[in-house]
């Protein structure tokens, strides 16, 4: 019998996803599609009658606005919301702003492949010359971060290393107090939580692409171990598509 339920939601398409650009810490907004995804996700939670006590999100608008759409749909706008940079998307360093073709042209296909396949090799740093350096590194929202905390780039390993302390120190105690938690965040920060919950290997987590805009439900025992695989909420077709897509990822040709 599950002691706790946890719901995660990965934000939908952003304006930069549309353009196929590495987004990372750039504060891109949701595209219209992304807004629709968030509303659908909210509707799925509403249809299933979900109630929450507490919400967590990053400091990037695409995640925050996704959460807002959801809270509006389920009529729980009054819930407390905690925002943290620790749930931000992975910082793509010098690749931020580049699209797929530009990246390959600039760094070569081989190097791109290494970054894509690696758990712990970070992309090049975002230095002061980078067009988005001021916009990101000097943003007021990161004013309280120490020099050590503010990344100039991250590997997936780095992302997980700064997300997990927040999970362990802030979120876990709340879950253990019986609070029903909703986390609206990004592909890679949520991977950190999923990897930890399921005890997945580095290879396995790199294979996993969480579906967007679809509420992901974990039932957890009193030690916060999942009692079963993650469940997706939505209409039958949406859920099946998401499940098939996830299943196919492991089989994708490299």
């Amino acid at each position: 019998m599950a002691a706790y339920k946890l719901v995660l939601i990965r934000h939908g398409e952003s304006c930069w996803n549309e353009e196929n650009r590495f987004c990372g810490w750039f504060d891109a907004d949701l595209s219209e599609t992304g807004e629709q995804e968030a509303k659908r996700g909210g509707q799925a939670l509403k249809d299933a009658g979900y109630e929450f006590d507490l919400c967590y999100t990053s400091v990037l608008k695409r995640a925050i606005r996704t959460l807002w759409f959801v809270l509006d749909s389920i009529d729980q706008m009054w819930l407390p919301v905690h925002r943290t940079w620790r749930l931000n998307e992975r910082h793509y360093g010098g690749l931020t702003g580049l699209n797929k073709a530009e990246t390959a042209a600039k760094h070569g296909e081989a190097q791109v492949k290494i970054w894509r396949r690696s758990f712990d090799i970070p992309p090049p740093s975002m230095d002061e010359e980078h067009p988005f350096y001021q916009n990101i590194s000097k943003d007021r929202r990161y004013g309280d971060l120490t020099e050590d905390q503010l990344p100039s780039c991250e590997s997936l390993k780095d992302t997980i290393a700064r997300a997990l302390p927040f999970w362990n120190e802030e979120i876990v105690p709340q879950i253990k107090e019986g609070k029903r938690v909703l986390i609206a965040a990004h592909g890679n920060s949520l991977r950190g939580i999923v990897k930890h919950l399921e005890g997945m290997s580095e290879e396995a987590i790199m294979e996993l692409n969480l579906p967007t805009g679809i509420p992901i439900v974990y039932e957890l025992d009193k030690n916060l171990k999942p009692v079963g695989p993650m469940q997706f909420l939505g209409d039958e077709e949406t859920v099946k598509k998401a499940m098939d897509a996830v299943a196919a990822q492991g089989k994708a040709k490299k």
């Binding site: 504060d27 990037l60 608008k61 925050i64 509006d72 706008m77 009054w78 905690h82």
Partner: protein
């Protein structure tokens, strides 16, 4: 010389504002016009270059929705938003859901004005027979307050609003201001008025004549003791502001047609 900046904002039009009904603790979202009011307010604040550090709202959706729309327009969605019932609109008791114009016809404009604008006259309390009683008191949000549900108000005068607002102001908002944070309070007509009365030292009689228009940000510049160093500023186009004030004042007047 002002040390601190505090912004108060009364949310824009909700569906019931449009119908001239006392909405109070009934949870309504903004109307399309109310959404626009909030967005316009956000754009204005963005143009003027204001940067918030923290936002306080009530636990009624319309004030939260207003805060979200303002932050969105300013690109400051990341700013923390803290919610409390202590910033809720005044509880209008048995008058909740009644149309102001009908009330004015039944009880006279003066009595309605008294209930709306007096400082310490409490309207009759809401009870279980009231059509909106369950909608309010069965709502889960009222089990999350720092006061047990049975002790939450059943009706309030403006004085009583201030009594439940002030402890929150002192314990939670003031420390943020004193840390130099630029604070936005996105709330309601009467919770904003109560706070203004306290900050500006408005008398019990004069507060009756203070009307806050919807969707217009109010800037208070405060000294180190949180006393205003100049009169409150309603930001934006002055003609628009005057029209907005008149709109609120007209709501209290009786209508002979429906």
């Amino acid at each position: 010389m002002s040390k601190y900046k505090l912004f108060l904002l009364r949310h824009g039009e909700g569906a019931w504002n449009k119908e001239n009904r006392f909405c109070s603790w009934v949870d309504q979202k903004l109307s399309a016009d109310g959404v626009k009011e909030a967005q316009d307010c956000g754009r204005l604040l963005k143009e003027r270059g204001y940067r918030f550090d923290i936002v306080f709202t009530s636990i009624l959706s319309r004030s939260i929705q207003t805060a979200w729309l303002v932050l969105e327009a300013m690109g400051q969605e990341w700013v923390p938003v803290v919610k409390s019932w202590r910033l809720n609109e005044r509880h209008y008791g048995a008058l909740i859901g009644l149309n102001r114009a009908e009330m004015a016809l039944q009880h006279g404009e003066e009595k309605v004005k008294l209930w709306r604008r007096s400082f310490d006259i409490t309207p009759p309390p809401i009870d279980e027979s009231h059509p909106y009683y369950l909608e309010i008191y069965n709502d889960r949000r009222y089990t999350t307050c720092d006061v047990p549900k049975e002790n939450l108000p059943r009706a309030e005068s403006l004085k009583e609003v201030l009594e439940r607002l002030l402890p929150y102001w002192n314990s939670t908002v003031v420390p943020e201001i004193k840390e130099g944070k630029t604070v936005l309070i996105s709330a309601h007509g009467n919770s904003c008025r109560a706070l203004l009365k306290h900050l500006e030292g408005v008398s019990d009689e004069d507060i009756a004549n203070v009307t806050l228009p919807t969707g217009i940000p109010v800037l208070l510049e405060l000294d180190e003791n949180l006393r205003p160093v100049k009169p409150r500023q309603l930001l934006g186009d002055q003609a628009k502001i005057q029209a907005a004030i008149k709109k609120v004042e007209d709501q209290g007047k009786a209508k002979t047609s429906t």
